[in-house]
């Protein structure tokens, strides 16, 4: 309990640690008794052994009176030896001899005994009466040494001096030998610090300030780091949001480009039945209004009109399916069905390139989880690419689209052309955005295809076809299976 603060019972001091060595100048006997009674009462209340070395002007009766007045069980403490009142002269100057080591030893013995009996420590007060004695200098040295000896021991010492009897020189000596110098004059307290203490206090204050500054600096750094982290966090969140937005945008653009690429084809698909309807209705009217109306012909024309109207509506249903399924939802996709629908919609484009598509779709291919339109877009780019690769090719311009299952159980789709084939330099950059071998090409098709395939957990690659041309293959994990 060395470090614990003790209640001194002296108002201006408050709580002080063990090892405190205080001197007090008093003006009147009452000043002295008032202070000492409270000093020891605090000790008794804190399980400390007390020793009071008294001398003039305090007699033993004065001391006991003063103590018993504010300590109700004083007699008991006195009887149990918790407090000891002894004549200062006998303790400090036995046989009128001042033996510093003997006194020090004496205190050590008393302290050891107190600790052995279960006290927290030893509280001492001695009244200096030897101002007039020839041992003054020795006593001053003792006080200084005691100051050092107290360090680290559960002991507190209060030395009392009469103001009237002290000369200025002596008072200075006394003050220098103690950590604190108190004065009680007619009921009023004064407290005087030693320069060392003040210095020490200032040092402590300085260290404390430095420490606080360092703590503040560190806190500031931590706050800054924290702030930075928060900013980085916010930025990351923003980047993630932007990425998500970009993905949605890509899906939207992909959908629009799909629609754009298919627009010409779609126009053709719708205009064909519309043209037939208009011509048939014209024919029907003429068969009716001819000089000899031919109702069989009218009937046949009306029948064809109905068929063509259904055909147009089917095309529109396909487009609607394309648009509504375009909401980037992952659904179970029947790839064969998706491919057939796509090829149907691409008829115009294919006709323009004079390319024909052969489908080799195995019926037992796994279903895949994905965005039907995006997957169609991915395949559409490969088919457009294949058709363009065969521009200028003599003979049959055939594109073969296959769907099968690979050895790992994934869906494997391939698009093969009979075109010019790949040169090794291009093969490396084939899927890079803006890479194109055609002057009018944007170079986005294969990049978009790869993005879509990879977003679906798949892989895409190209290799030369036999005997000529290129084959693009991609895999997609089967629905329900974990992506590879």
């Amino acid at each position: 309990m060395i470090d614990a603060e003790r209640t001194t019972g002296i108002e201006p001091l408050g709580d002080m640690p063990w090892g405190t060595h205080v001197c007090m100048f008093y003006e009147t006997k009452d000043d002295l008794l008032y202070t000492l009674a409270r000093y020891f009462r605090a000790a008794l209340q804190s399980n400390e052994r007390c020793v009071w070395a008294i001398s003039e002007p305090v007699a033993e009766a004065d001391a006991k009176n003063a103590l018993s007045r504010i300590i109700p069980d004083f007699e008991q403490h006195l009887a149990e030896g918790t407090i000891e009142i002894l004549p200062a002269h006998e303790w400090y100057l036995p046989g009128d001899r001042f033996d510093m080591q003997k006194i020090t030893r004496g205190w050590e013995e008393k302290l050891a005994a107190a600790l052995a009996e279960g006290f927290d420590g030893l509280r001492v007060s001695g009244n200096a009466f030897w101002m007039e004695t020839e041992h003054w200098e020795e006593f001053c040295q003792y006080e200084r040494e005691l100051d050092g000896a107290l360090f680290g021991r559960p002991m507190m010492v209060l030395c009392t001096y009469s103001l009237h009897r002290s000369r200025a020189v002596e008072a200075m000596d006394v003050a220098r030998a103690h950590q604190f110098t108190l004065a009680r004059r007619r009921g009023e307290w004064e407290i005087i610090e030693t320069p060392e203490l003040r210095q020490a206090k200032q040092q402590i204050l300085k260290l404390k300030n430095e420490l606080e500054e360092r703590v503040l600096d560190r806190t500031r750094e931590l706050v800054e780091v924290n702030q930075r982290l928060r900013v980085e966090n916010t930025e990351r969140e923003r980047a993630e949001a932007a990425l998500a937005k970009a993905r949605t945008e890509l899906a939207r653009v992909a959908r629009l480009t799909t629609m754009g690429v298919l627009a010409a084809s779609i126009a053709h698909e719708i205009n064909q039945p519309l043209a037939a309807i208009v011509i048939n209705s014209g024919a029907a009217l003429r068969w009716l209004t001819n000089e000899k109306p031919d109702l069989a012909e009218v009937n046949a024309a009306l029948g064809r009109i109905a068929l063509d109207a259904h055909r147009a509506s089917e095309v529109i249903q396909h487009i609607r399916a394309l648009v509504t399924e375009g909401k980037s939802e992952h659904v179970d996709v029947d790839i064969n069905d998706a491919i057939r629908d796509l090829v149907r919609l691409m008829r115009g484009t294919l006709r323009e390139h004079r390319a024909v598509v052969r489908l080799a779709l195995r019926r037992d291919v796994p279903r895949v989880a994905g965005d039907r339109l995006q997957l169609q877009h991915a395949i559409m780019n490969l088919v457009s690419n294949a058709a363009e690769a065969m521009t200028g090719v003599k003979g049959r311009r055939e594109i073969v689209i296959r769907a099968a299952t690979d050895e790992a159980g994934n869906l494997l789709v391939s698009v093969e052309d009979r075109g010019r084939g790949l040169d090794p330099d291009s093969a490396e950059h084939l899927f890079d955005p803006f890479f194109t071998t055609r002057p009018e090409g944007m170079g986005m098709g294969l990049a978009i295809t790869r993005t879509i395939v990879e977003a679906h957990g798949g892989r895409i690659w190209a290799s030369p076809a036999s005997p000529a041309g290129t084959v693009f293959r991609f895999t997609l994990p089967a629905a329900g299976a974990a992506p590879r």
Binding site: A275, I279, S281
Partner: protein, 213 residues
């Protein structure tokens, strides 16, 4: 309209469009032949006039425009009406430059198609009549003797009988006789008429009237 009945040849890969056109044309009394591809048409060898072609631009195999380019290079071409469901300016310009009668974007009004067909058939009949006249002219010209041909060459250049006689080293009377023969055989009513005939023969020297796909 005169002469043989006209036949309209329709080449479109969409069967329902083909059927509709056939019905429409038959309702106005036109004969129709339908083909799905250019190749089917060429293979059929059916190119008896008068008539015209109704051709879809986007066809499997050879496209309508490419086919039309080939037609344009051949003499006495069959008039062509293009129909398409992707009308674009570039294509129609190319088609009209190549001598197409019309360029119709699907869906077109039935009357527009009929008007275009009538115009095309008229053009074809006119061409056929011209062809027939040329054939007749060549036949007459072939009946001339070598000497008569020589005399005709000089006459159409505006030479007087005296000059021709001097040139050919014959008498003026002989020239006169040959000249009369030429006018009679060629069926020319005047020298101006003969000049026109000679012109025609010269400009069409290398063409073959009536040649068709």
């Amino acid at each position: 309209m005169s002469g043989a009945p006209a036949t309209v040849i329709v080449i479109d890969d969409d069967p329902s469009v083909r059927e509709a056109i056939r019905s429409l044309l038959r309702s106005v009394g036109l004969a129709v032949e339908l083909f799905g591809t250019v190749k089917e048409f060429v293979d059929s060898g059916k190119v008896q006039g008068p008539g015209c072609l109704v051709l879809d631009i986007r066809l499997p195999g050879q496209s309508g425009l490419d086919f039309h380019d080939e037609l344009a290079r051949a003499p006495n071409r069959l008039p062509v009406i293009f129909i398409t469901s992707h009308g674009d300016i570039q294509m129609s310009v190319r088609a009209m430059k190549a001598g197409a009668v019309d360029f119709l974007t699907k869906p077109f009004r039935d009357q527009d198609l009929l008007d275009a067909i009538q115009a095309a058939i008229q053009r074809d009949r006119a061409r056929m009549a011209e062809d027939a006249a040329l054939v007749d002219l060549r036949r007459r010209s072939a009946e001339l003797t070598t000497r008569e041909q020589e005399v005709m060459r000089h006459v159409v250049r505006g030479r007087a009988n005296k000059e021709i006689a001097h040139e050919l080293g014959v008498s003026e009377i002989t020239v006169k006789a040959h000249r009369g023969q030429v006018m009679r055989k060629m069926g020319a009513r005047s020298v101006a008429d003969l000049v026109r005939m000679a012109d025609k023969l010269e400009t069409t020297e290398h063409s073959t009237p009536g040649m068709r796909y």
